[in-house]
Symmetry: C2
Subunit: 293 residues, 2 copies
C-alpha cells in the first residue's frame, strides 16, 4: 500500500489560492494527495476531502513520488526546500516548481535540484485559480525531457492545455513573462481607451465586445510583428513607424481636448520618438525593437 501511494501520490506544498486549487483538482481526479503549508489551518478543507497533512516538509516530500510546489515566489520556495534534509528526501523524485518567477529563478532551482539528484521541472500556470483543471487551461513547463515524461499525466490533470517549452529550465518562465508583458500592456492600453469612451459618453462594454470580436485579427498582426523581429526585417511596412507615431500624437491631443490623463500616450510617444530620431520612421513598427536592444 505504501508503495502504491508513493507511485500514484502527489505532494502539494503551498496552499494559497492557487496551491489549494491544485490540490483540490488532484483529489477530484483520484490522486492520493499529501499537503503541507506553513499555516496548517489552510489544509482543513483538503484534509476533510481525504488529503493527508504532513507534519513537516521532509515528511511531505517523502510521502509521494512527485512534489508540486506553488508559493508566492521563488524566495519563499527556496526557503522551504533548500535544506539538506529536504534535498535528501527529494533525491530521485520529481519536483515540479510552479511558483511564479524569472528564468534565472528557474535556473537557480534547477541547479540546486541537480546537485541533490532531484528530477526537476519548472512551470508557469497561465490561468486564474478557477480555470485550473479545464481542458484548455495552459500550463507551460520546461526542463529535462525525461522529467517531463514523469510529470506529464499529473500536469495534464491540472491543465489540459499543457505545453512543453523545451529542455532549458528557464524557458517556461520566459514564455510566461513574455505573454504577460503583452497581455498587461494591452490591458493598460484598454484603460486609456476606456477613458476616451467614458469622456465621449460611449458605453465601455461595447469597446470590449468589439475587441473580443476582432481579437483573431489582432493576434495575426502581433504574429506578423514577432516574425519581423525574428527575421530582423523591417522593410516594406504596411503602416510605417511614422504613421504609428502620429497615432500617439493624436491620442495626446485627444487627451488634452477631453481633459483626461495623457501619461500613457506620452510615455509611448517618447519611445517612438527615439525610433524616429534613429531614422526608423519609414520602417515597420516592429523596428522599434532596435530602440530597445
Amino acid at each position: 500500500m505504501t508503495t502504491t501511494t508513493q507511485q500514484t501520490g502527489v505532494t502539494v506544498i503551498g496552499l494559497g489560492d492557487m496551491g489549494s486549487v491544485l490540490a483540490h483538482v488532484l483529489l477530484d481526479k483520484g490522486y492520493t494527495v499529501t499537503v503541507w503549508n506553513r499555516r496548517r489551518d489552510k489544509a482543513a478543507a483538503l484534509v476533510a476531502r481525504g488529503a493527508m497533512l504532513a507534519t513537516d516538509v521532509v515528511a511531505a516530500v517523502g510521502a509521494s513520488a512527485v512534489t508540486i510546489i506553488c508559493v508566492t515566489d521563488y524566495a519563499i520556495s527556496h526557503g522551504i526546500l533548500h535544506t539538506a534534509a529536504v534535498g535528501a528526501a527529494l533525491s530521485g523524485r520529481l519536483l515540479i516548481e510552479l511558483s511564479t518567477g524569472t528564468p534565472a529563478d528557474a535556473r537557480h532551482g534547477e541547479r540546486w535540484a541537480a546537485a541533490q539528484g532531484i528530477v526537476y521541472l519548472d512551470g508557469a500556470i497561465l490561468a486564474t485559480p478557477r480555470q485550473v483543471g479545464r481542458a484548455d487551461t495552459p500550463i507551460f513547463v520546461s526542463g529535462d525531457r525525461a522529467a517531463y515524461e514523469r510529470g506529464v499525466d499529473i500536469l495534464q490533470a491540472l491543465a489540459g492545455g499543457l505545453q512543453y517549452m523545451g529542455e532549458a529550465p528557464g524557458a517556461a518562465a520566459a514564455w510566461d513573462l513574455g505573454f504577460l508583458s503583452y497581455l498587461f500592456m494591452g490591458a493598460l492600453g484598454l484603460l486609456h481607451a476606456a477613458r476616451i469612451f467614458e469622456t465621449e459618453g460611449i458605453p465601455v462594454d461595447g469597446l470590449g465586445n468589439m475587441i473580443a470580436q476582432v481579437s483573431p485579427g489582432i493576434g495575426e498582426m502581433i504574429q506578423g510583428m514577432a516574425l519581423a523581429i525574428h527575421q530582423n526585417d523591417f522593410e516594406q511596412p504596411e503602416s510605417s513607424l511614422l504613421i504609428c507615431a502620429l497615432t500617439m500624437d493624436l491620442l495626446i491631443r485627444q487627451a488634452a481636448e477631453n481633459g483626461i490623463n495623457d501619461e500613457m500616450p506620452r510615455f509611448f510617444k517618447g519611445l517612438y520618438q527615439r525610433g524616429l530620431d534613429a531614422g526608423y520612421g519609414g520602417e515597420k513598427f516592429a523596428a522599434m525593437i532596435k530602440v530597445l536592444r
Copy 2:
C-alpha cells in the same frame, strides 16, 4: 450622362497611400471617380485607369454626388475644404471625411458642414492600404443616419466590415482611437516580450504564434475588463491588482537579470503602485481605471 455621373460618381480628395487605394478600389468596383490632389502627378496611375482629374477643389466636389476626403490630418483637410467656394459647391451633397483625427476634429468638421448645408459623415479606416476593399475590412463611420444611408453603398465597396457607430459625429474617431490605444500598447508590450525572448535565446516568432493562437481568449479577458469598467464593479477578482502588480515586479527583476531595458515595466509599475496606494490591491485589475479618472 452628366446627371448619371453625378448620381453614381465619387470624388476622392487626397491621393496619398490610403487615398489613392480608395480611388483604385472605387474604380475596380465600377464607380465613376474624380480625383484631386495638391500634387497632380500623384493622380497619373488613376487617370490612366479612367479617373477624371479635376482642375481645382471646387470642380472636384462639384463633379460627384459624394466626396471622400482622406488626407494626413484634419488641419490639412479643413485647409482644403473650408472655403466659401468649396462649401457652396458641396452644399446638398454628401461629404465623407476619412482623414485621421480626434472626436473634436470630427465635431468641428460636422459643425462647418452643417452650416453650409452639407450632408456629413465622419469615418475611420481601421486597416492598412492593402486591406482596403476586402469583405472584412473595417471602416467605422458616424453622423446623421440619413447621411449614412446615402453613403453606405460606397463605403461598403471600400470596406465590407463597415460599422455605423451612431449619430454623434465624434463616435467613429473615438472608437478608432480607443481601438488603437489598445492595439499599440499591446504591440509595445510585445516589444518588451521580444527582448525577453531574444536574451533567453528563444525564437521570437514562436511567441507571435502563441499569441495568435490564444488571442480569442485574450479578447475575452479584455471584454471582461471593459464590462467591469462599464459596470464600475471591481469586486471578487479572479486575479487581483496586487497579483498583477507582482508580475510587473517580476518583469523589472528579469530585466535586471538579463540586462535589458526596463522602462516599460517600470512605467507600468508606477501606475499600478498608485492603484495599490489607493487601496485597490484586493480588487480587479480593471480597478486601475479609478487611478486614471
